[in-house]
Amino acid sequence: MAAPESLVYERPESFTETPTHYCPGCTHGVAHRLVAEVLEEMGVTNRTIGVAPVGCAVFAYNYFDTDFVEAPHGRAPAMATGVKRVLPDRVVFTYQGDGDLASIGMGEIVHAAARGENITVIFINNANFGMTGGQMAPTTLPGMKTTSSPNGRDVESQGYPIRMSEMISTLDGVGYCVRRSLHDPKNIRLAKKAIRTAFETQVRGLGFSMVELLSTCPTNWGMTPVNSLKFVEEHMIPAYPLGDYKVSEAIKQVKI
Protein backbone atom coordinates (compact mmCIF):
# COMPACT_ATOMS: atom_id res chain seq x y z
CA MET A 1 0.00 0.00 0.00
CA ALA A 2 1.30 3.43 -0.93
CA ALA A 3 1.96 5.84 1.89
CA PRO A 4 -0.76 8.52 2.24
CA GLU A 5 0.18 11.68 0.37
CA SER A 6 1.09 14.65 2.46
CA LEU A 7 1.58 18.18 1.18
CA VAL A 8 5.04 19.40 2.10
CA TYR A 9 5.33 22.53 -0.02
CA GLU A 10 2.67 24.95 -1.20
CA ARG A 11 2.11 28.53 -2.19
CA PRO A 12 2.03 30.84 0.83
CA GLU A 13 -1.40 32.36 1.35
CA SER A 14 0.15 35.81 1.04
CA PHE A 15 0.81 34.99 -2.61
CA THR A 16 -1.68 35.34 -5.44
CA GLU A 17 -2.07 32.64 -8.10
CA THR A 18 -0.34 34.82 -10.72
CA PRO A 19 2.80 33.18 -12.19
CA THR A 20 5.77 35.55 -11.92
CA HIS A 21 7.40 37.08 -14.96
CA TYR A 22 10.97 36.61 -13.71
CA CYS A 23 13.55 34.86 -15.87
CA PRO A 24 14.28 31.21 -15.10
CA GLY A 25 16.79 30.91 -12.27
CA CYS A 26 16.40 34.51 -11.13
CA THR A 27 16.43 34.86 -7.34
CA HIS A 28 13.82 37.67 -7.33
CA GLY A 29 11.28 34.85 -7.10
CA VAL A 30 13.03 33.35 -4.07
CA ALA A 31 13.09 36.71 -2.32
CA HIS A 32 9.38 37.22 -3.05
CA ARG A 33 8.54 33.85 -1.59
CA LEU A 34 10.49 34.51 1.60
CA VAL A 35 8.69 37.81 2.15
CA ALA A 36 5.32 36.16 1.50
CA GLU A 37 6.07 33.33 3.95
CA VAL A 38 7.11 35.80 6.64
CA LEU A 39 3.99 37.95 6.20
CA GLU A 40 1.83 34.86 6.44
CA GLU A 41 3.65 33.47 9.48
CA MET A 42 3.31 36.80 11.26
CA GLY A 43 -0.37 36.99 10.35
CA VAL A 44 -0.03 40.51 8.95
CA THR A 45 -0.98 39.97 5.30
CA ASN A 46 -4.25 41.87 5.60
CA ARG A 47 -2.66 44.90 7.16
CA THR A 48 0.41 45.12 4.97
CA ILE A 49 0.97 47.66 2.25
CA GLY A 50 3.80 46.95 -0.16
CA VAL A 51 5.63 49.55 -2.22
CA ALA A 52 6.89 48.24 -5.56
CA PRO A 53 9.95 49.77 -7.24
CA VAL A 54 10.82 50.47 -10.83
CA GLY A 55 13.02 47.58 -11.89
CA CYS A 56 12.38 43.92 -12.60
CA ALA A 57 10.17 43.82 -9.49
CA VAL A 58 7.88 46.55 -10.83
CA PHE A 59 5.04 44.04 -11.01
CA ALA A 60 5.61 42.74 -7.47
CA TYR A 61 2.09 43.94 -6.73
CA ASN A 62 0.71 41.18 -8.94
CA TYR A 63 2.19 38.46 -6.74
CA PHE A 64 1.61 39.51 -3.15
CA ASP A 65 -1.91 39.21 -1.85
CA THR A 66 -1.65 42.52 0.03
CA ASP A 67 -2.48 46.10 -0.78
CA PHE A 68 0.23 47.55 -2.99
CA VAL A 69 1.32 50.82 -4.50
CA GLU A 70 3.95 51.35 -7.17
CA ALA A 71 6.52 54.12 -6.70
CA PRO A 72 8.49 56.20 -9.19
CA HIS A 73 12.05 54.89 -9.73
CA GLY A 74 13.96 55.17 -6.45
CA ARG A 75 11.22 56.92 -4.51
CA ALA A 76 9.74 53.91 -2.72
CA PRO A 77 11.14 54.87 0.72
CA ALA A 78 9.53 58.33 0.43
CA MET A 79 6.23 56.83 -0.66
CA ALA A 80 6.43 54.29 2.14
CA THR A 81 7.07 57.17 4.55
CA GLY A 82 3.86 58.83 3.38
CA VAL A 83 1.87 55.63 3.86
CA LYS A 84 3.37 54.71 7.24
CA ARG A 85 3.06 58.20 8.72
CA VAL A 86 -0.68 58.24 8.13
CA LEU A 87 -1.22 54.52 8.88
CA PRO A 88 1.24 53.83 11.72
CA ASP A 89 -0.45 50.55 12.72
CA ARG A 90 -0.03 48.99 9.28
CA VAL A 91 3.01 47.05 8.05
CA VAL A 92 4.74 48.88 5.22
CA PHE A 93 7.59 47.51 3.15
CA THR A 94 9.48 48.48 0.02
CA TYR A 95 11.08 46.00 -2.34
CA GLN A 96 13.87 47.65 -4.32
CA GLY A 97 16.68 46.80 -6.70
CA ASP A 98 20.19 48.22 -6.53
CA GLY A 99 19.65 50.70 -9.34
CA ASP A 100 16.46 51.85 -7.66
CA LEU A 101 17.86 52.06 -4.14
CA ALA A 102 21.57 52.79 -4.54
CA SER A 103 21.55 54.95 -7.67
CA ILE A 104 18.52 57.12 -8.41
CA GLY A 105 16.99 56.60 -4.97
CA MET A 106 20.07 57.14 -2.81
CA GLY A 107 18.60 60.29 -1.27
CA GLU A 108 15.28 58.72 -0.37
CA ILE A 109 16.74 55.57 1.22
CA VAL A 110 19.35 57.38 3.30
CA HIS A 111 16.87 59.88 4.68
CA ALA A 112 14.15 57.33 5.39
CA ALA A 113 16.77 55.40 7.37
CA ALA A 114 18.09 58.52 9.10
CA ARG A 115 14.56 59.50 10.15
CA GLY A 116 14.16 56.02 11.58
CA GLU A 117 11.00 55.44 9.55
CA ASN A 118 9.33 52.32 10.84
CA ILE A 119 9.36 50.59 7.48
CA THR A 120 11.08 47.47 6.15
CA VAL A 121 13.22 47.55 3.03
CA ILE A 122 13.98 44.42 1.03
CA PHE A 123 17.00 45.33 -1.07
CA ILE A 124 17.88 43.11 -4.03
CA ASN A 125 21.52 43.54 -4.98
CA ASN A 126 22.13 41.84 -8.34
CA ALA A 127 25.01 44.09 -9.36
CA ASN A 128 23.24 45.51 -12.40
CA PHE A 129 20.17 47.23 -13.82
CA GLY A 130 18.27 44.08 -14.69
CA MET A 131 15.13 45.51 -16.16
CA THR A 132 16.71 47.85 -18.67
CA GLY A 133 18.99 45.14 -20.03
CA GLY A 134 21.98 44.86 -17.75
CA GLN A 135 23.65 48.25 -17.47
CA MET A 136 26.19 49.09 -14.80
CA ALA A 137 24.75 49.76 -11.34
CA PRO A 138 26.49 51.45 -8.40
CA THR A 139 26.91 47.89 -7.08
CA THR A 140 28.55 46.44 -10.19
CA LEU A 141 31.86 44.79 -9.24
CA PRO A 142 35.17 46.29 -10.43
CA GLY A 143 36.02 44.74 -13.78
CA MET A 144 32.53 43.32 -14.23
CA LYS A 145 31.23 43.58 -17.79
CA THR A 146 27.82 45.15 -18.34
CA THR A 147 26.20 46.72 -21.39
CA SER A 148 27.39 50.14 -20.24
CA SER A 149 30.79 48.99 -19.00
CA PRO A 150 31.61 46.77 -21.99
CA ASN A 151 35.28 46.46 -21.06
CA GLY A 152 34.52 45.80 -17.44
CA ARG A 153 33.84 48.43 -14.78
CA ASP A 154 36.83 50.69 -14.73
CA VAL A 155 36.96 52.15 -11.25
CA GLU A 156 39.17 55.02 -12.41
CA SER A 157 36.46 56.44 -14.64
CA GLN A 158 33.33 54.69 -13.42
CA GLY A 159 33.81 54.76 -9.70
CA TYR A 160 33.72 52.14 -7.00
CA PRO A 161 30.91 49.87 -5.79
CA ILE A 162 28.72 51.18 -2.99
CA ARG A 163 28.22 48.95 0.03
CA MET A 164 24.75 50.01 1.13
CA SER A 165 24.32 47.93 4.27
CA GLU A 166 27.60 49.23 5.68
CA MET A 167 26.55 52.81 4.91
CA ILE A 168 22.98 52.57 6.15
CA SER A 169 24.06 50.86 9.36
CA THR A 170 25.92 54.03 10.43
CA LEU A 171 22.65 55.90 10.81
CA ASP A 172 21.07 56.18 14.25
CA GLY A 173 17.53 55.74 12.96
CA VAL A 174 18.30 52.19 11.88
CA GLY A 175 17.16 49.35 14.09
CA TYR A 176 18.15 46.41 11.93
CA CYS A 177 20.38 46.20 8.88
CA VAL A 178 21.93 42.99 7.58
CA ARG A 179 23.23 41.42 4.37
CA ARG A 180 22.32 37.90 3.33
CA SER A 181 22.61 35.85 0.15
CA LEU A 182 20.20 33.72 -1.86
CA HIS A 183 22.77 31.41 -3.48
CA ASP A 184 22.06 28.17 -1.59
CA PRO A 185 19.42 26.62 0.70
CA LYS A 186 21.31 27.33 3.89
CA ASN A 187 21.71 30.99 3.04
CA ILE A 188 18.11 31.19 1.88
CA ARG A 189 17.00 29.98 5.32
CA LEU A 190 19.22 32.61 6.95
CA ALA A 191 17.77 35.23 4.64
CA LYS A 192 14.26 34.30 5.67
CA LYS A 193 15.16 34.60 9.33
CA ALA A 194 16.59 38.05 8.66
CA ILE A 195 13.45 39.12 6.77
CA ARG A 196 11.36 37.94 9.71
CA THR A 197 13.54 39.91 12.12
CA ALA A 198 13.25 43.00 9.94
CA PHE A 199 9.45 42.86 9.99
CA GLU A 200 9.51 42.14 13.73
CA THR A 201 11.61 45.31 14.09
CA GLN A 202 8.90 47.23 12.32
CA VAL A 203 5.89 45.86 14.19
CA ARG A 204 7.67 46.59 17.47
CA GLY A 205 8.34 50.16 16.40
CA LEU A 206 12.10 49.71 16.74
CA GLY A 207 13.13 51.80 13.74
CA PHE A 208 14.14 51.38 10.15
CA SER A 209 14.95 47.86 8.98
CA MET A 210 16.69 46.69 5.81
CA VAL A 211 17.74 43.29 4.51
CA GLU A 212 20.15 43.35 1.60
CA LEU A 213 19.95 40.16 -0.44
CA LEU A 214 22.74 39.18 -2.83
CA SER A 215 20.85 38.03 -5.88
CA THR A 216 21.41 36.64 -9.34
CA CYS A 217 20.60 37.99 -12.76
CA PRO A 218 21.44 35.03 -15.02
CA THR A 219 19.96 36.71 -18.08
CA ASN A 220 22.08 39.83 -18.01
CA TRP A 221 25.12 38.20 -16.46
CA GLY A 222 25.05 35.81 -19.44
CA MET A 223 25.35 32.75 -17.20
CA THR A 224 23.35 29.66 -16.48
CA PRO A 225 21.33 29.84 -13.26
CA VAL A 226 23.79 27.41 -11.61
CA ASN A 227 26.83 29.40 -12.66
CA SER A 228 25.26 32.60 -11.47
CA LEU A 229 24.73 31.08 -8.02
CA LYS A 230 28.44 30.22 -8.06
CA PHE A 231 29.22 33.77 -9.13
CA VAL A 232 27.40 35.11 -6.09
CA GLU A 233 29.35 32.81 -3.81
CA GLU A 234 32.75 33.36 -5.39
CA HIS A 235 32.62 37.01 -6.44
CA MET A 236 29.75 38.86 -4.83
CA ILE A 237 30.20 37.70 -1.25
CA PRO A 238 33.89 38.72 -1.08
CA ALA A 239 32.93 42.21 -2.29
CA TYR A 240 29.76 42.36 -0.18
CA PRO A 241 30.47 40.40 3.01
CA LEU A 242 27.45 38.78 4.61
CA GLY A 243 26.73 39.82 8.15
CA ASP A 244 24.76 41.77 10.69
CA TYR A 245 25.70 45.40 10.21
CA LYS A 246 23.35 46.75 12.80
CA VAL A 247 21.14 44.95 15.25
CA SER A 248 19.92 47.28 17.96
CA GLU A 249 19.95 46.09 21.56
CA ALA A 250 16.16 45.96 21.65
CA ILE A 251 16.05 43.59 18.68
CA LYS A 252 18.71 41.33 20.10
CA GLN A 253 16.25 40.62 22.92
CA VAL A 254 13.50 39.61 20.51
CA LYS A 255 13.14 35.83 20.25
CA ILE A 256 11.50 34.56 17.10
Binding site: D65, F68, P72, R75, G82, V83, R85, V86, L87, V110
Partner: protein, 370 residues
Protein backbone atom coordinates in the same frame (compact mmCIF):
# COMPACT_ATOMS: atom_id res chain seq x y z
CA UNK B 1 -15.42 84.57 12.89
CA UNK B 2 -13.93 88.02 13.08
CA UNK B 3 -11.28 89.31 10.73
CA UNK B 4 -7.71 89.05 11.91
CA UNK B 5 -4.43 90.14 10.41
CA UNK B 6 -2.90 87.14 8.60
CA UNK B 7 0.28 86.68 6.62
CA UNK B 8 -0.56 84.89 3.35
CA UNK B 9 1.60 81.84 3.87
CA UNK B 10 0.53 81.27 7.45
CA UNK B 11 -3.09 81.80 6.50
CA UNK B 12 -2.77 79.08 3.84
CA UNK B 13 -1.29 76.71 6.41
CA UNK B 14 -4.00 77.35 8.99
CA UNK B 15 -6.77 77.19 6.39
CA UNK B 16 -5.47 73.80 5.24
CA UNK B 17 -5.43 72.57 8.85
CA UNK B 18 -9.01 73.74 9.33
CA UNK B 19 -10.05 72.04 6.09
CA UNK B 20 -8.95 68.74 7.61
CA UNK B 21 -5.34 68.41 6.43
CA UNK B 22 -4.12 65.06 7.80
CA UNK B 23 -0.57 65.01 6.47
CA UNK B 24 1.92 67.59 5.23
CA UNK B 25 5.28 66.99 3.57
CA UNK B 26 7.50 69.83 2.39
CA UNK B 27 10.95 71.30 1.96
CA UNK B 28 12.07 74.87 2.69
CA UNK B 29 12.18 77.37 -0.16
CA UNK B 30 11.54 81.11 -0.21
CA UNK B 31 8.94 82.62 -0.52
CA UNK B 32 6.93 79.66 0.77
CA UNK B 33 8.87 78.53 3.83
CA UNK B 34 6.48 80.02 6.41
CA UNK B 35 3.89 77.39 5.43
CA UNK B 36 6.32 74.59 6.34
CA UNK B 37 7.44 76.35 9.51
CA UNK B 38 3.88 77.01 10.66
CA UNK B 39 2.84 73.41 10.05
CA UNK B 40 5.95 72.01 11.76
CA UNK B 41 4.39 73.33 14.96
CA UNK B 42 0.69 73.05 14.19
CA UNK B 43 0.45 69.51 12.78
CA UNK B 44 2.22 67.65 15.64
CA UNK B 45 0.19 69.70 18.12
CA UNK B 46 -2.94 68.15 16.57
CA UNK B 47 -1.42 64.67 16.28
CA UNK B 48 -1.29 64.91 12.49
CA UNK B 49 1.56 63.86 10.19
CA UNK B 50 4.33 66.33 9.35
CA UNK B 51 7.68 65.54 7.76
CA UNK B 52 10.32 67.95 6.51
CA UNK B 53 11.44 65.84 3.57
CA UNK B 54 15.00 65.50 2.28
CA UNK B 55 14.03 67.23 -0.98
CA UNK B 56 10.97 68.09 -3.04
CA UNK B 57 11.38 64.67 -4.67
CA UNK B 58 10.98 63.12 -1.26
CA UNK B 59 8.13 65.45 -0.31
CA UNK B 60 5.96 64.79 -3.35
CA UNK B 61 6.42 61.04 -3.07
CA UNK B 62 5.43 61.15 0.59
CA UNK B 63 2.35 63.03 -0.60
CA UNK B 64 1.82 60.29 -3.18
CA UNK B 65 2.01 57.55 -0.52
CA UNK B 66 -0.35 59.34 1.87
CA UNK B 67 -2.74 60.14 -0.99
CA UNK B 68 -2.87 56.42 -1.85
CA UNK B 69 -3.67 55.76 1.81
CA UNK B 70 -6.72 57.99 1.29
CA UNK B 71 -6.05 60.96 3.56
CA UNK B 72 -6.15 64.73 2.99
CA UNK B 73 -2.56 65.55 2.13
CA UNK B 74 -0.70 68.52 0.75
CA UNK B 75 2.69 69.90 -0.06
CA UNK B 76 3.77 73.43 -0.75
CA UNK B 77 6.79 74.81 -2.53
CA UNK B 78 8.05 77.52 -4.84
CA UNK B 79 9.06 77.36 -8.48
CA UNK B 80 12.42 75.47 -8.44
CA UNK B 81 11.00 73.04 -5.89
CA UNK B 82 7.83 72.51 -7.90
CA UNK B 83 9.97 71.64 -10.93
CA UNK B 84 11.45 68.79 -8.88
CA UNK B 85 7.96 67.60 -8.02
CA UNK B 86 6.88 67.14 -11.60
CA UNK B 87 7.80 63.45 -11.72
CA UNK B 88 5.65 62.77 -8.66
CA UNK B 89 2.78 64.87 -9.96
CA UNK B 90 2.66 62.85 -13.15
CA UNK B 91 2.55 59.60 -11.14
CA UNK B 92 -0.17 60.99 -8.86
CA UNK B 93 -2.19 62.02 -11.90
CA UNK B 94 -1.66 58.63 -13.56
CA UNK B 95 -2.75 56.83 -10.40
CA UNK B 96 -5.84 59.07 -10.08
CA UNK B 97 -5.42 59.88 -6.41
CA UNK B 98 -6.29 63.29 -4.96
CA UNK B 99 -3.52 65.61 -3.79
CA UNK B 100 -3.15 69.33 -3.16
CA UNK B 101 -0.08 71.37 -4.03
CA UNK B 102 0.57 75.07 -3.50
CA UNK B 103 3.16 76.89 -5.61
CA UNK B 104 4.16 80.31 -4.25
CA UNK B 105 5.82 81.38 -7.49
CA UNK B 106 9.07 83.30 -7.75
CA UNK B 107 11.12 84.81 -10.57
CA UNK B 108 12.90 82.42 -12.93
CA UNK B 109 14.09 80.53 -14.94
CA UNK B 110 16.81 78.75 -13.00
CA UNK B 111 17.44 79.90 -9.48
CA UNK B 112 16.08 83.28 -10.58
CA UNK B 113 15.15 85.29 -7.54
CA UNK B 114 12.66 85.30 -4.69
CA UNK B 115 10.46 88.11 -6.02
CA UNK B 116 6.78 87.61 -6.97
CA UNK B 117 6.18 86.06 -10.36
CA UNK B 118 3.57 84.24 -12.42
CA UNK B 119 6.03 82.49 -14.68
CA UNK B 120 4.91 78.96 -13.76
CA UNK B 121 1.47 79.39 -15.32
CA UNK B 122 2.26 77.12 -18.24
CA UNK B 123 3.93 74.52 -16.03
CA UNK B 124 0.87 74.42 -13.79
CA UNK B 125 -1.89 74.77 -16.36
CA UNK B 126 -0.52 73.06 -19.43
CA UNK B 127 1.97 70.49 -18.27
CA UNK B 128 5.08 70.13 -16.26
CA UNK B 129 5.15 66.41 -15.73
CA UNK B 130 5.26 63.87 -18.54
CA UNK B 131 2.23 62.32 -20.15
CA UNK B 132 -1.30 63.53 -20.76
CA UNK B 133 -3.03 64.64 -17.59
CA UNK B 134 -5.37 67.43 -16.59
CA UNK B 135 -5.19 69.18 -13.24
CA UNK B 136 -7.18 71.86 -11.49
CA UNK B 137 -5.36 75.15 -10.87
CA UNK B 138 -6.68 77.95 -8.67
CA UNK B 139 -5.18 81.45 -8.58
CA UNK B 140 -5.96 83.59 -5.53
CA UNK B 141 -5.34 87.35 -5.54
CA UNK B 142 -5.62 88.01 -1.82
CA UNK B 143 -5.03 86.35 1.51
CA UNK B 144 -8.77 85.88 1.97
CA UNK B 145 -9.11 84.19 -1.39
CA UNK B 146 -6.19 81.90 -0.63
CA UNK B 147 -7.88 80.89 2.62
CA UNK B 148 -11.18 80.24 0.89
CA UNK B 149 -9.51 78.21 -1.85
CA UNK B 150 -7.76 75.83 0.53
CA UNK B 151 -10.91 73.93 1.48
CA UNK B 152 -12.11 74.10 -2.11
CA UNK B 153 -8.79 72.61 -3.31
CA UNK B 154 -9.27 69.50 -1.17
CA UNK B 155 -12.92 69.14 -2.13
CA UNK B 156 -12.16 69.40 -5.85
CA UNK B 157 -9.14 67.09 -5.66
CA UNK B 158 -11.24 64.42 -3.96
CA UNK B 159 -14.34 64.90 -6.09
CA UNK B 160 -12.39 64.37 -9.30
CA UNK B 161 -9.52 62.22 -7.97
CA UNK B 162 -7.14 64.75 -9.41
CA UNK B 163 -4.34 67.12 -8.49
CA UNK B 164 -5.59 70.48 -7.34
CA UNK B 165 -2.91 73.15 -7.40
CA UNK B 166 -3.02 76.66 -6.07
CA UNK B 167 -0.62 79.08 -7.75
CA UNK B 168 0.03 82.42 -6.17
CA UNK B 169 2.91 84.78 -6.49
CA UNK B 170 5.22 85.54 -3.61
CA UNK B 171 3.50 88.83 -2.83
CA UNK B 172 0.26 87.09 -1.79
CA UNK B 173 2.30 84.61 0.26
CA UNK B 174 4.23 87.35 2.02
CA UNK B 175 1.61 90.06 2.48
CA UNK B 176 -0.33 90.73 5.68
CA UNK B 177 -4.04 91.36 5.24
CA UNK B 178 -7.14 91.27 7.37
CA UNK B 179 -8.90 87.99 6.65
CA UNK B 180 -11.44 85.65 8.14
CA UNK B 181 -10.60 82.03 8.90
CA UNK B 182 -13.23 79.34 8.52
CA UNK B 183 -14.22 77.19 11.51
CA UNK B 184 -12.09 74.17 12.29
CA UNK B 185 -13.57 71.17 10.48
CA UNK B 186 -13.28 67.77 12.12
CA UNK B 187 -11.20 65.13 10.36
CA UNK B 188 -13.52 62.91 8.35
CA UNK B 189 -12.52 59.29 7.78
CA UNK B 190 -13.49 59.01 4.17
CA UNK B 191 -12.99 55.29 3.61
CA UNK B 192 -12.53 55.68 -0.12
CA UNK B 193 -13.26 52.52 -2.05
CA UNK B 194 -9.91 52.85 -3.82
CA UNK B 195 -7.51 53.59 -0.94
CA UNK B 196 -4.64 51.19 -0.20
CA UNK B 197 -4.83 51.24 3.59
CA UNK B 198 -4.58 47.53 4.35
CA UNK B 199 -6.92 44.79 3.11
CA UNK B 200 -8.78 44.34 6.39
CA UNK B 201 -12.04 42.53 5.64
CA UNK B 202 -11.96 43.33 1.97
CA UNK B 203 -10.27 42.36 -1.31
CA UNK B 204 -6.78 43.72 -1.68
CA UNK B 205 -6.21 46.84 -3.79
CA UNK B 206 -3.43 48.03 -6.05
CA UNK B 207 -2.70 51.64 -6.91
CA UNK B 208 -0.29 52.26 -9.74
CA UNK B 209 0.16 54.42 -12.79
CA UNK B 210 1.15 51.47 -14.98
CA UNK B 211 -0.90 50.36 -17.95
CA UNK B 212 1.56 48.17 -19.76
CA UNK B 213 -0.90 47.55 -22.61
CA UNK B 214 -1.15 50.72 -24.72
CA UNK B 215 -4.84 50.01 -25.36
CA UNK B 216 -5.47 50.02 -21.60
CA UNK B 217 -3.44 53.20 -21.18
CA UNK B 218 -5.54 54.78 -23.92
CA UNK B 219 -8.69 53.84 -22.02
CA UNK B 220 -7.18 55.39 -18.86
CA UNK B 221 -6.24 58.55 -20.78
CA UNK B 222 -9.75 58.83 -22.21
CA UNK B 223 -11.20 58.40 -18.73
CA UNK B 224 -9.14 61.42 -17.64
CA UNK B 225 -10.23 63.37 -20.72
CA UNK B 226 -13.90 62.69 -19.98
CA UNK B 227 -13.49 63.58 -16.33
CA UNK B 228 -11.85 66.81 -17.40
CA UNK B 229 -14.91 67.63 -19.52
CA UNK B 230 -16.96 67.36 -16.33
CA UNK B 231 -14.55 69.68 -14.50
CA UNK B 232 -14.78 72.17 -17.37
CA UNK B 233 -18.56 72.06 -17.29
CA UNK B 234 -18.90 72.49 -13.52
CA UNK B 235 -15.90 74.15 -11.97
CA UNK B 236 -14.95 77.27 -13.95
CA UNK B 237 -14.70 80.20 -11.60
CA UNK B 238 -13.84 83.86 -12.28
CA UNK B 239 -14.51 87.38 -11.05
CA UNK B 240 -15.98 90.10 -13.23
CA UNK B 241 -15.51 93.84 -12.66
CA UNK B 242 -17.22 96.59 -14.72
CA UNK B 243 -17.79 94.20 -17.61
CA UNK B 244 -21.44 95.03 -18.38
CA UNK B 245 -20.70 97.74 -20.93
CA UNK B 246 -16.95 97.21 -21.30
CA UNK B 247 -15.42 97.74 -24.71
CA UNK B 248 -11.95 96.97 -23.48
CA UNK B 249 -11.57 93.81 -21.41
CA UNK B 250 -8.49 93.46 -19.23
CA UNK B 251 -7.70 89.85 -18.29
CA UNK B 252 -5.34 89.13 -15.41
CA UNK B 253 -5.09 86.50 -12.67
CA UNK B 254 -3.71 86.70 -9.14
CA UNK B 255 -1.72 89.82 -8.29
CA UNK B 256 -1.64 91.02 -11.92
CA UNK B 257 -5.45 90.93 -11.85
CA UNK B 258 -5.56 92.74 -8.55
CA UNK B 259 -3.25 95.53 -9.70
CA UNK B 260 -5.22 95.74 -12.94
CA UNK B 261 -8.40 96.43 -10.98
CA UNK B 262 -6.90 99.67 -9.63
CA UNK B 263 -6.00 100.66 -13.18
CA UNK B 264 -9.49 99.79 -14.45
CA UNK B 265 -11.08 101.93 -11.73
CA UNK B 266 -8.83 104.86 -12.64
CA UNK B 267 -9.66 104.45 -16.34
CA UNK B 268 -13.38 104.31 -15.58
CA UNK B 269 -12.98 107.63 -13.73
CA UNK B 270 -11.66 109.01 -17.02
CA UNK B 271 -14.71 107.71 -18.85
CA UNK B 272 -13.02 104.75 -20.58
CA UNK B 273 -15.37 101.79 -20.97
CA UNK B 274 -13.07 99.16 -19.55
CA UNK B 275 -13.68 96.13 -17.37
CA UNK B 276 -11.68 93.31 -15.80
CA UNK B 277 -12.01 89.55 -15.99
CA UNK B 278 -10.00 87.80 -13.29
CA UNK B 279 -9.88 84.02 -13.71
CA UNK B 280 -10.04 82.19 -10.37
CA UNK B 281 -9.63 78.80 -11.98
CA UNK B 282 -6.90 79.20 -14.57
CA UNK B 283 -7.48 75.50 -15.17
CA UNK B 284 -10.26 74.88 -16.15
CA UNK B 285 -9.81 78.18 -17.98
CA UNK B 286 -12.85 80.44 -18.49
CA UNK B 287 -12.84 80.13 -22.30
CA UNK B 288 -16.60 80.45 -22.55
CA UNK B 289 -16.94 83.80 -20.81
CA UNK B 290 -14.12 85.22 -22.93
CA UNK B 291 -15.84 83.87 -26.01
CA UNK B 292 -19.01 85.71 -24.98
CA UNK B 293 -17.14 88.93 -24.15
CA UNK B 294 -15.64 88.88 -27.63
CA UNK B 295 -19.10 89.87 -28.88
CA UNK B 296 -19.03 93.20 -27.03
CA UNK B 297 -15.30 93.98 -26.73
CA UNK B 298 -13.32 95.93 -29.27
CA UNK B 299 -10.06 94.73 -27.72
CA UNK B 300 -8.60 92.63 -24.91
CA UNK B 301 -5.59 93.51 -22.80
CA UNK B 302 -3.88 90.62 -21.03
CA UNK B 303 -1.75 91.58 -18.03
CA UNK B 304 0.61 89.03 -16.49
CA UNK B 305 3.78 88.85 -14.42
CA UNK B 306 5.49 86.73 -17.07
CA UNK B 307 6.26 86.86 -20.78
CA UNK B 308 2.72 86.11 -21.94
CA UNK B 309 1.59 82.63 -20.93
CA UNK B 310 -2.13 82.99 -20.16
CA UNK B 311 -2.11 85.21 -23.25
CA UNK B 312 -2.22 82.07 -25.40
CA UNK B 313 -5.36 80.85 -23.67
CA UNK B 314 -7.08 84.20 -24.07
CA UNK B 315 -6.15 84.26 -27.77
CA UNK B 316 -7.54 80.74 -28.13
CA UNK B 317 -10.87 81.94 -26.74
CA UNK B 318 -10.92 85.15 -28.79
CA UNK B 319 -10.00 83.28 -31.98
CA UNK B 320 -8.75 86.32 -33.87
CA UNK B 321 -12.07 88.14 -33.84
CA UNK B 322 -10.76 91.23 -32.02
CA UNK B 323 -7.22 92.35 -31.16
CA UNK B 324 -5.59 90.95 -28.03
CA UNK B 325 -2.86 93.15 -26.55
CA UNK B 326 -0.35 92.21 -23.88
CA UNK B 327 1.42 93.85 -21.01
CA UNK B 328 3.76 91.75 -18.93
CA UNK B 329 6.40 92.22 -16.26
CA UNK B 330 8.54 89.09 -16.08
CA UNK B 331 11.49 88.10 -13.93
CA UNK B 332 10.02 89.02 -10.54
CA UNK B 333 8.73 92.51 -11.40
CA UNK B 334 5.25 93.63 -10.37
CA UNK B 335 3.40 96.11 -12.61
CA UNK B 336 2.20 99.43 -11.16
CA UNK B 337 -1.43 100.48 -11.60
CA UNK B 338 -0.19 103.55 -13.52
CA UNK B 339 1.54 101.54 -16.19
CA UNK B 340 -1.53 99.36 -16.69
CA UNK B 341 -3.69 102.50 -16.87
CA UNK B 342 -1.32 103.79 -19.52
CA UNK B 343 -1.79 100.55 -21.45
CA UNK B 344 -5.58 100.79 -21.17
CA UNK B 345 -5.42 104.35 -22.52
CA UNK B 346 -3.18 103.21 -25.37
CA UNK B 347 -5.48 100.31 -26.31
CA UNK B 348 -8.47 102.65 -26.09
CA UNK B 349 -6.97 105.16 -28.50
CA UNK B 350 -5.14 102.86 -30.88
CA UNK B 351 -6.22 101.47 -34.18
CA UNK B 352 -5.28 97.86 -33.53
CA UNK B 353 -5.04 94.95 -35.91
CA UNK B 354 -5.86 91.32 -35.30
CA UNK B 355 -2.96 90.35 -37.55
CA UNK B 356 -0.05 91.44 -35.37
CA UNK B 357 1.59 89.33 -32.68
CA UNK B 358 0.90 91.07 -29.36
CA UNK B 359 4.34 90.05 -28.14
CA UNK B 360 6.06 92.16 -30.85
CA UNK B 361 4.38 95.36 -29.71
CA UNK B 362 5.00 94.53 -26.07
CA UNK B 363 8.71 93.90 -26.65
CA UNK B 364 9.00 97.16 -28.58
CA UNK B 365 7.34 99.08 -25.75
CA UNK B 366 9.52 97.33 -23.16
CA UNK B 367 12.61 98.41 -25.13
CA UNK B 368 11.48 102.02 -24.69
CA UNK B 369 11.08 101.45 -20.95
CA UNK B 370 14.74 100.44 -20.67
Amino acid sequence: MAKELWKGNEAIAEAAVRAGLQAYFGYPITPQTEILEYLSRRMPELGRAFVQAESELGAINMVYGAACAGVRVMSTSSSPGVSLMMEGLSYIAGTEVPAVLVNVMRGGPGLGNIAPSQADYNQAVHGGGHGDYPRIVLAPASVQEAIDMMGLSFDLAEKYRMISMMILDGSVGQMMEPAEMPEMKPIVERNWDWATNGALNRERRILSSIYIEPAAEEVANLRLANRWKEVQANEVRYKEYFLDDAEIVVVGFGTAGRVSLSAVRAARAQGIKVGLLRPITVSPFPYEVIDQLTGQAKAFLVVEMNMGQMLSDVRLAVRGRVPVEFHGRPGGMVPFPDEILHEVQRVNGANLSVQTDPIDGWLARMAEVK
